[in-house]
């Protein structure tokens, strides 16, 4: 037996490793690792390597790293102990793979930095509410003092930890999706498989961090652990569209590029009176993800504390069905935004995932104020509410979304 390093010759991860952050700190490294891991999850070559190893069996090959996606994420390499003849077979049977005999490397140790975790938020930690004009509205003379009462959003995400104090009494249901049985399966408890959905839900309806703290959310666990299939998406869209109490769908998952296979499922949502609010993606300029780049969704990018568009926020020009348009539609606070973390407490995260629920929350306020609005008029109101940041439309869309209610 010898030790081999196995990796795709030119896999998805290496071709498209335009990482969200280019900072060389341990905190930024964490996000980079997660991004590469997510990209590798969609690389078919990795899938083929994994299947080959599973078929060979533990008697003949020992994986020194795990068999699931995401191990050794920085190097993009699997480390396997196997016989030389099996290494040769792997080279022959799996195309586009490199199989290299192991040699000594030096471990790179990250530097320790202070994280943003807090148990209590103070001062400017809720800057995202100020940036959209909500705090000013609440302090001012506007008649509308609503908080989204009677409005329900579905959060199609990793789950929601309903035990977080910010989300007490705000999570009114929890479902997973079984494509084989083609049904949404109700869950007795609302849990989060990852943490992402909890952070998102907090920004919609959290008691102090939420835009619409009287709105409610339904947990639709479409991407457990951060991954799902497009068939999950189709089922989740159909289910959300046929729940009469649901008015908004919030989503932060996507496939890189413009891929039309989910488009009619999204337009089905609109036709059934549900507003789809979707993150554009975190790969920066001229990169977008589907369905966040569809014309049928409210496509959301991320803004910063100083009213610029975050460098990681996606955007660009899309040509589809003989039409040309820019995405995102608008931007909302998405850099250094505090919200709930699983188990309690808060953390500040960067992502168009954070901007998206801010827009969903504003949509909830608009629905409470105007219960007779159609979904297309609601979409239009969101766009008309924006403040122009003076940036190119393919970065900011209509601008920074605002809460404008009399």
């Amino acid at each position: 037996m010898a030790r081999y390093l196995v990796r795709p010759k030119a896999g998805l991860a290496s071709r498209s490793a335009s990482l969200v952050s280019r900072k060389l700190t341990a905190a930024a490294r964490d996000g980079q690792v997660q991004d590469l891991s997510a990209m590798r999850g969609s690389d078919p070559i990795y899938g083929e390597i994994r299947r080959w190893v599973e078929e060979l069996g533990v008697a003949k090959v020992k994986a020194l790293t795990g068999l699931h996606e995401g191990d050794t994420p920085i190097t993009g390499t699997k480390v396997l102990d196997m016989a030389p003849e099996d290494a040769e077979r792997l080279r022959d049977e799996v195309s586009d793979v490199e199989v290299i005999q192991d040699r000594p490397i030096e471990l790179i140790r990250p530097q320790k930095v202070t994280a943003s975790s807090k148990q209590r938020l103070v001062g400017n930690d809720r800057w995202h509410l100020e940036a959209i004009g909500l705090e000013a509205l609440r302090r001012g003379t506007a008649k509308f003092k609503g908080k989204g009462k009677g409005v329900t959003a579905v959060v199609l995400d990793t789950g929601v930890d309903a035990t977080h104090p910010e989300l007490k009494d705000r999570v009114t249901g929890a479902f997973t999706f079984d494509v084989d049985q083609w049904q949404a399966v109700p869950q007795e408890e609302s849990v989060d498989t990852d943490g992402h959905g909890t952070h998102v839900s907090g920004l919609i309806c959290g008691k102090s961090v939420g835009v619409a703290p009287a709105a409610t959310v339904i947990n639709g666990t479409m991407i457990p652990g951060g991954f799902g299939q497009t068939s999950n998406f189709i089922l989740a869209m159909e289910w959300a569209g046929t729940q009469p109490e649901v008015q908004i769908v919030n989503m932060s998952a996507g496939l890189p590029g413009f891929l039309p296979e989910m488009m009619t499922a999204v337009s089905g949502l609109l036709a059934a009176g549900v507003l789809p609010v979707v993150a554009i993606g975190n790969e920066g300029r001229n990169r977008t993800r589907s369905p966040g780049n569809y014309v049928e969704v409210v496509s959301v990018g991320a803004s910063t504390r100083d009213n610029k568009v975050a460098s990681f926020s996606g955007g660009g020009t899309i040509v589809s069905d003989s039409h040309q348009y820019q995405v995102p539609d608008l931007v909302a606070p998405g850099e250094g935004v505090y919200s709930c973390i699983m188990g309690g407490g808060y953390e500040a995260w960067n992502g168009t995932s954070m901007a998206t629920p801010v827009v969903s929350g504003i949509a909830a306020l608009l629905l409470e104020a105007h219960p007779d609005v159609t979904v297309t008029d609601l979409y239009e109101e969101l766009l008309l509410s924006c403040t122009d940041l003076g940036l190119p439309v393919e970065r900011q869309g209509e601008g920074l979304v605002q809460v404008k209610l009399a």
Partner: protein
Amino acid sequence: MDDKSAYDKADPELRRALEEALGESPERGPDDVLRILVLLRPEAGGQGDGEAPPRPLDPSDYPSRIDYRKALIEQRQQVVQRDVGDVKRKLEELALKVKGGLTSPTVVVEGPARRILEALRLAGVEHASLDRVIALERPTKAVPEEG
């Protein structure tokens, strides 16, 4: 419809999967089960062909938003059934598992590769793609400013 026209409806990943299953590969075969997403369209001369979109519903005509949504859902289901119900039935007659298609003309279809190719030959099938992984757009944790 010839095979080339059918294959033209498939995205590259599905095309590759079909070519492997229906080709010479010893490890794949025509009975390999594939799960795909299929966009359906009204067939020429069929029920939905050339039909006008339905009258828009006004929320103020309903006692509550939930009632309005129920009406929209019902309307949408009727439109989709009218437009692609026949095509959906034809897919089922090919002994394929067909799921969805209530509020949108996209269905999830599962079955042997050889039947999937037959499905692509149907005039009411516009496009098909292989079921694939969809990933979370991961945020990063913010680093607090120093000082």
